[in-house]
């Protein structure tokens, strides 16, 4: 299985960018509110998470498209 590192210091507004979510041909990523969803509140602090990792081919399309260089794909030996 591949490994994907997501750097939250570089990816500061995933809700506005969303490029990795739309570009990955295998639909590997999801986006979620890191602190959960609280009644009456707009969710803040969004995070990108690779969930369909078993399907990642390590094509690195996500790495290339990410405007913040926040993603690093590595092939597990």
């Amino acid at each position: 299985m591949m490994q994907i590192e997501w750097d939250d210091k570089k990816c500061t507004s995933p809700r506005d960018c969303r490029k990795c979510l739309d570009a990955c041909p295998e639909g590997v990523f999801m986006i979620y509110p890191r602190d959960g969803r609280k009644p009456g509140k707009v969710a803040g602090d969004w995070a990108i998470m690779p969930v369909f990792l078993t399907q990642c081919t390590a094509c690195k399309i996500c790495e290339e498209i990410c405007p913040q260089n926040a993603l690093t794909v590595s092939v597990e030996s």
């Binding site: 995933p14 809700r15 969303r18 979510l21 739309d22 639909g27 990523f29 999801m30 986006i31 979620y32 509110p33 959960g36 969803r37 009644p39 009456g40 509140k41 707009v42 969710a43 969004w46 998470m49 969930v51 369909f52 990792l53 078993t54 399907q55």
Partner: protein, 275 residues
Amino acid sequence: MCEFCIEHGQGTKWYLQTKNYAEELLNEERKRYITDFYERFEEMAADGLAAMDKLVPADLAVPKVGRSPIAEGMKQQHFGQVIPLEDVEKILDFTTSITRVHCVCRSLLHGVYDDRYCFNVATFKSDFWPKGVWEQWPDYSKGIEILTVEEAKKEFQKLDRNGLVHSVWHYNAPFIAAICNCAPTDCLGFRMMERGQRPFFKAEYVAAIDIEQCNGCRDCVKICPFGAIAYSPASQKCTIHQLQCFGCGLCRGVCALDAITLLDRNAIPVLAKEW
């Protein structure tokens, strides 16, 4: 008949039974389940996907309904069935409240919060469903719309032409409360098929092409979300692979020559066992 029709429909289509939409079913336990479902949707999805990764690859080779403990467990919790446009319309005719809401799968997979592909239906007025549930979370409740039956029918016709598969969903069997409009890349239910799981039944129908009518234009091939239609350069006609067809009826909607009809799945011996 799919197993829900036998269990919850007395041998007729379970999703056309008004008793499966009844207010009495919305007890405290279900209310808790529904609230939890939307509040913790991302968490549950991530946990579920991680659990699927632990399954033996050989078990996942062919996506079959209820193949694993995960899809099997969902039959009780949250499970659906593909239905064609005419059956959507039959349901809309007996509901008294139709609310078009944001789609939680699209928000999770594409980060979009204004794609309202889910229609919450009810046969009763309630402060809890769907208004009370959605209003708890402003991210979700933004832009929810109340529709009349006629308005909802028009929207479904548009969605049909745009290649969205309609399906009914229950929240703890057999309480049905939503009709979804899904696409393979955008819906977690579809995406589970990539891991050999399927949390919904095929439709009670299967599509067939009358080759005497077909001119081989291939419009049907373009719209089929399940890759079930093949064009033969030899015959210059299309045919539908019956084991791959989910009976959604989208191909029929785009065929300008009316060459496609939906047949009763239950009347075809091999397909009657194919859910």
